[in-house]
């Protein structure tokens, strides 16, 4: 699709909503990146927003953060194969189509020049943090990024993050690269070195976000987290995504996904995320009678 086409023409062509996969890449074991045709979403997306997609007629609706979007009409998504639905998505290859993609959803991040900002991220959370770090940098903020993973192989978007950061730190649980330990340790060290962060973005697994927010609390540094509860519609109609923020119920899909970390009830979030663990196990077992290791994705 040529870049010079006017918006209205683009739309006429995509009436049938075909979301073809243009490129696909394995980023780490179980972590994949796909580039998909979605011109309207690509035009409208802003940092911090997500999409909900459905692979086939019988599939779940799954939320995924928008990582990049381009004026060639494509969007990039990164996902970890954690359950049946993400494994199913991972089976698609270049040229395949995704049945439905709705977006952009959620409130965009508040992007401005904050002064010094720490962007702390872990695991696939780095994919969600990248567009925010990039936008913050473009808005004039000084961006200090800290990215982490269990080990070196699982680190995502290293180069990309380094490019949009003024300073860049790595941390791995096993010490295979960078600091040995957690991103929150690095954050604490930097705070104690008087980095003077005006704001901290923390995006990753709930436990990582909780620990990061515990680190910044005593220093009263404004901390923003992007929450990833279970979602169904992603449009404010079901309340599956409800989270307690300052003791009030908020819907992450429309009131968020970003919230003030110091007000979030992380314990409840973590419990709610486990709501369907038995069903998720049963479906993998059911559809992969060989059990245990699924036969559907090969490296």
């Amino acid at each position: 699709m040529s870049k010079s086409k006017p918006a209205t023409q683009l739309k006429a062509e995509t009436k049938t909503n075909t979301h073809k996969i243009i490129a696909k890449q394995d980023l780490a074991s179980n972590i994949k990146q796909i580039q998909v045709l979605a011109p309207e979403i690509a035009q409208k997306a802003k940092a911090g927003q997500f999409v909900i997609l459905r692979v086939h007629e019988d599939s779940e609706r799954i939320p995924l953060t928008l990582v990049t979007w381009d004026n060639d009409g494509t969007i990039t998504l990164i996902f970890q194969e954690v359950g049946y639905s993400t494994i199913e998505l991972g089976k698609l290859t270049v040229g395949d189509e995704i049945l439905n993609i709705a977006g952009p959803l959620g409130k965009p991040s508040e992007i401005k020049n904050y002064g010094k900002v720490a962007v702390v991220c872990g695991g696939v959370g780095t994919a969600a943090a990248y567009p925010i770090a990039k936008a913050l940098k473009e808005a004039g903020s000084t961006v200090i990024s800290i990215i982490g993973a269990r080990n070196q192989q699982l680190l995502l978007l290293e180069e990309e993050m380094a490019k949009v950061s003024d300073e860049f730190f790595i941390s791995t649980d096993d010490g295979s690269k960078g600091h040995k330990g957690f991103v929150s340790d690095v954050l604490k060290t930097l705070i104690d070195k008087n980095y003077g962060f005006a704001t901290v973005y923390a995006i990753g697994p709930p436990i990582m976000m909780k620990v990061a927010s515990d680190v910044t609390r005593p220093y009263k540094i404004k901390t923003i987290v992007s929450l990833n509860p279970i979602m169904v519609d992603g449009m404010g109609m079901c309340g599956a995504c409800r989270v307690a923020v300052a003791n009030q119920t908020k819907f992450a899909c429309v009131d968020g996904p970003e919230f003030d970390a110091h007000q979030v009830d992380f314990k409840e979030l973590m419990q709610r995320l486990k709501g369907y663990v038995p069903e998720e196990k049963s479906i993998i077992q059911h559809l992969n009678p060989l059990g245990g290791k699924c036969t559907c994705h090969q490296h």
Binding site: T8, K15, N17, E40, I41, K44, Q49, R54, D58, S59, E60, R61, Y84, S85, E88, L99, N100, I101, A102, G103, P104, L105, G106, V232, D233, M235, G236, M237, C238, G239, A240, R242, V243, A244, T249, V254, E268, Q271, R272, K274, G275, Y276, P278, E279, E280, S282, I283, H286, L287
Partner: protein, 471 residues
């Protein structure tokens, strides 16, 4: 039955409605197939012949869209079924749906003269009969209209939006319907279960509307993908907002975010839209435990309760803060639910939920209520009786205490007036909002109401959009 015999029998039983056959309760609680099977031709003829064809029919005033009821019933008695459905469709574009889900006992049938001494004529069942018969025939698509060059955007593909789309397409407008979800139909597909409204009936209506030339764009959440201003700038001459009341209310009591507590919308969206009653063939899970409590007394509560039963719950208890007489649900559904073994705890309201270490709900504390003075809705207002709290064991709770308008459009459209509950303020005669060229109807403009009223307000809005664009 020979006609003469039938007529004779009919005369004897003028006061008694012909019952509609339905799946037996013991059988139907194990499936999601339609409960009420509809009239056979004989049954429809017998029921239609009960109508007195009053010279001054009362029933019509009870119909929110003024269907000429005696006329279509008379056509049935004359075996002119195609003419009968045409008569209904002059006013009601979704008869197969309305025949199934309208609260007829509160509307047309409430005014039927026969109802003073016996059973009112079963107008809804007759409407369903002629509509279903038509659905078995090949679809007759009206000749494609020459487009009049005007474009209208319809937001939301529920009954309100679909009605506006159909009416304007028939008048030669280019209509684009933007629907946030992946299918059209609104509550008809995501809320009302298969056993009450088979989805193929909704699909037939949607197909008809597409055949009229309406462009349907799913996966399009307006407010985020485009704003109303952008749609108008892009060349739409008018916008109709029919985004419904889909934001679930919660009780606001402690423990409500425990696992196992659903909003009715979440529960029904999983079951109906995502078809989790066919899990694992369909991949969206649903968890229903043994002891289910459903909070509320309307159609939504009953649909949730009856779905839970079909998904294997051992006991389902409806907990309602008023008494049976105040339940807003359709009478037929209340009777069906009772037959299926759903129990009710009236005059009770939850005060908190108890859970285990894993954060799963295990109990519900509720307080007894008594009925006080009538409130603004005319129903007697329930007041808690101090110190009457009791705990009941539950492992699943479904909260069905009401829904408010979906808020995204309201919060992304400047100058659009709303009430404090987010209801879009419109001129009730025209459906016009506080903004030029922007109209609204259905639940988003009235608060939770009915399919027929959503359709009625859609008709009105289509009419005034047409008037204003051809002025």
């Amino acid at each position: 039955m020979p006609p003469a015999l039938m007529q004779q029998q009919q005369l004897q039983n003028r006061w008694q409605a012909i019952p509609m056959s339905s799946q037996k309760p013991a059988e139907r609680i194990n499936n999601f197939s339609e409960v009420a099977k509809g009239y056979t031709e004989e049954q429809a003829l017998a029921e239609a012949s009960r109508c007195l064809t009053c010279p001054n029919p009362q029933c019509v005033q009870g119909c929110p869209v003024n269907v000429d009821i005696p006329a279509f019933i008379k056509l049935i008695t004359e075996h002119k079924y195609a003419d009968a459905i045409r008569k209904v469709k002059e006013k009601n574009s979704l008869p197969a749906i309305c025949g199934r889900v309208c609260p007829q006992e509160e509307q047309c049938q409430k005014y039927c003269v026969l109802g003073k001494k016996g059973d009112a004529v079963s107008i809804g069942r007759l409407e369903r009969f002629v509509a279903d018969l038509e659905l078995t025939k090949p679809l007759t698509i009206p000749k494609p209209q020459t487009l009049n060059g005007k474009k209208v955007a319809v937001l939301g593909a529920g009954p309100a939006g679909l009605t506006v789309a159909a009416d304007l397409a028939k008048r030669g407008y280019k209509v684009v319907v933007y629907e946030a979800l992946h299918v059209a139909g609104g509550v008809l597909v995501y809320g009302i279960p298969e056993f009450r409204l088979p989805k193929k009936i909704v699909q037939a209506e949607v197909d008809y509307i597409k055949a009229l030339g309406v462009e349907l764009r799913t996966d399009s959440l307006i407010g985020r993908l485009f704003t109303i201003d952008e749609l108008l700038e892009e060349g739409f001459d008018a916008v109709f907002i029919g985004t419904g009341a889909g934001l679930p209310k919660f009780l606001g009591v402690p423990g409500e975010n425990l696992n196992g507590i659903y909003s009715a919308n979440e529960f029904l969206i999983r079951v109906n839209l995502m078809k989790s009653y066919k899990f694992p063939q369909f991949k969206t899970p649903i968890r229903v435990g043994k002891k289910v409590a459903v909070i509320g007394g309307g159609n939504v509560a009953l649909d949730s309760a009856r779905s839970a039963l079909r998904l294997g719950a051992e006991s389902v208890c409806l907990v309602y803060r008023r008494s049976r007489g105040e339940m807003p649900a359709r009478l037929e559904e209340i009777l069906h639910a009772e037959e299926e073994g759903i129990t009710c705890k009236f005059l009770a309201s939850p005060t908190r939920f108890l859970g285990d270490e894993q954060g799963r709900v295990t109990g519900m504390e509720y307080i007894a209520m008594k009925l006080g003075e009538p409130d603004e809705s005319g129903r007697r207002h329930p007041v808690p009786i101090k110190g009457s709290e009791v705990v009941m064991d539950v492992d699943t709770v479904i909260v069905a205490i009401g829904r408010t308008p979906n808020p995204i459009i309201q919060s992304t459209t400047q100058g659009l007036n709303t009430t404090k509950n987010g209801i879009i303020v419109v001129d009730t005669d025209t459906g016009q909002s506080s903004l030029d060229a922007v109209y609204a109807g259905g639940d988003v403009a009235t608060g939770e109401a009915t399919v027929i009223s959503a359709m009625g307000s859609g008709k009105k809005a289509a009419h005034s959009i047409h008037n204003s664009l051809t002025r």
